[in-house]
Amino acid sequence: MSETSFQVSVGEAFTAEDVAEAAEKPTEQVARYALRLGDDALILAQQLGWWVARAPELEEDVALTNIALDQLGHARAFLSYAGLAWGKTEDDLAYFRGESEFVNAQLFEQPNGDFAQTIARQFVASHFQFELYRQLQGSANATLAAIAAKALKEVDYHRDHADQWMLRLSLGTDESRRRMLRGLEVIWPFVEELFRDDELTDSLKGVAAAPSSLLEGFEKSTAAVFARCEIEIPAGFVARGGGRLGQHTEFLGHLLAEMQVLAREHPGATW
């Protein structure tokens, strides 16, 4: 054993089992915050998984599902950690909560639509998560910081993937541009909710990444892509939001029904 090797501290464990073994439980507030980030990632992973074998080309089947897999990895880490506060596993949280108990932002549950709409959602999601994890890697909470530092490197690829498609679709044919603009029109109303501070994030100064503080970086990096795409930054209608409080659009219920049916029909099933 060399002296320079790093030490594993409690709370830096990674898999669900490791997190469950860790002694350090998050406070109720931290757990509620981790649940939000975990739900964002979980719902996005579930949406993206639909594309396997349905994307416009094989490379995209692979790309979108790779991104889904990364998101699922982030979700597992956040949910396992959150669950420690309540004696629940990642599976308990993913499969046995009802719609109003999910606290993802509404953006993530918006339907895939056509490929351009999925790219519009990816564009927003990846630029948001990039800013989020970049800040969260400096969190005073070691577990959140470790998950964020790991996730950041992966979300960087997701962001690049979305940017490339934004460019290709918006500068491609008239039809691809029309669809890209339409996708952005559907998705953009759900941007504002991502950057709302509330009581929970206010109570976690230095631990949570204050949503409002992420807006500047998000606006800057998305504006640069919009300029290259020759698209004006969308404006106008803003959705009511409320996902963080368990208020959701009509799409989440259907998504959960599909995601949870097996676990609920056959509790404890393994294969």
């Binding site: 054993m1 594993v8 990674f14 898999t15 490379e59 897999l69 990364d70």
Partner: protein, 176 residues
């Protein structure tokens, strides 16, 4: 320190080395020419309180091979007579291809997978504005005239490339 305590300490020290050596024989289930040591996934090995303790770090958050590697380390140590085995996953510091050994890179190339070129700090993730990517060498013919087909490949850690010289497609282990 008493002589007995000293000898106990040195025994545990050499056992820790043995734990490392055994764990280091485990291979990546997806890239069977690479050991987890080559990959930089094996971070720490120890022997304490009668237990062999190994720490791994995941490559990508969602990588399903991690569970297999963990189970393989456990069974390798059990087969060598360690009854109590503890395998932990540590997230921090985050894994990077910079930890891949030179030998590992060589083995990858021989296996037909282009090894990561350059260091992660030079990649896009760096906070600086410079985005530098080095040309990837075809593992079949050695040409540098290659192109990226898709950044996402058959596993999280790989991208799909094709060679303009020999026309063969190949996997590239991404700098991460």
């Amino acid at each position: 320190m008493s002589a007995v305590a000293k000898s106990q300490l040195s025994r545990e020290h050499s056992l820790a080395e043995r734990v490392w050596k055994i764990a280091a024989t485990v291979c990546d289930p997806e890239v069977p020419v690479l050991t987890i040591e080559d990959l930089g996934v094996l971070r720490e090995a120890d022997f304490a309180d009668g237990t062999a303790k190994v720490t791994l770090t995941p490559t990508y958050s969602g990588c399903p091979a991690m569970d297999t590697m963990k189970a393989d380390v456990e069974s390798a140590l059990k087969a060598e007579g360690f009854d109590k085995v503890e395998v932990k996953m540590a997230l921090a510091p985050a894994w990077t291809t910079d930890w891949m050994s030179e030998e590992g890179k060589q083995k990858l190339s021989e296996f037909g997978i282009a090894p990561p070129t350059g260091r992660a700090a030079l990649g896009r993730t760096a906070q600086g504005k410079v985005s530098l990517s080095l040309q990837v060498k075809c593992p079949h013919c050695g040409s540098l005239n290659t192109k990226e087909l898709t950044r996402f490949g058959s596993t999280s850690c790989k991208a799909l490339y094709s060679c303009n010289a020999c026309q063969e497609p190949f996997d590239y282990f991404k700098v991460h």
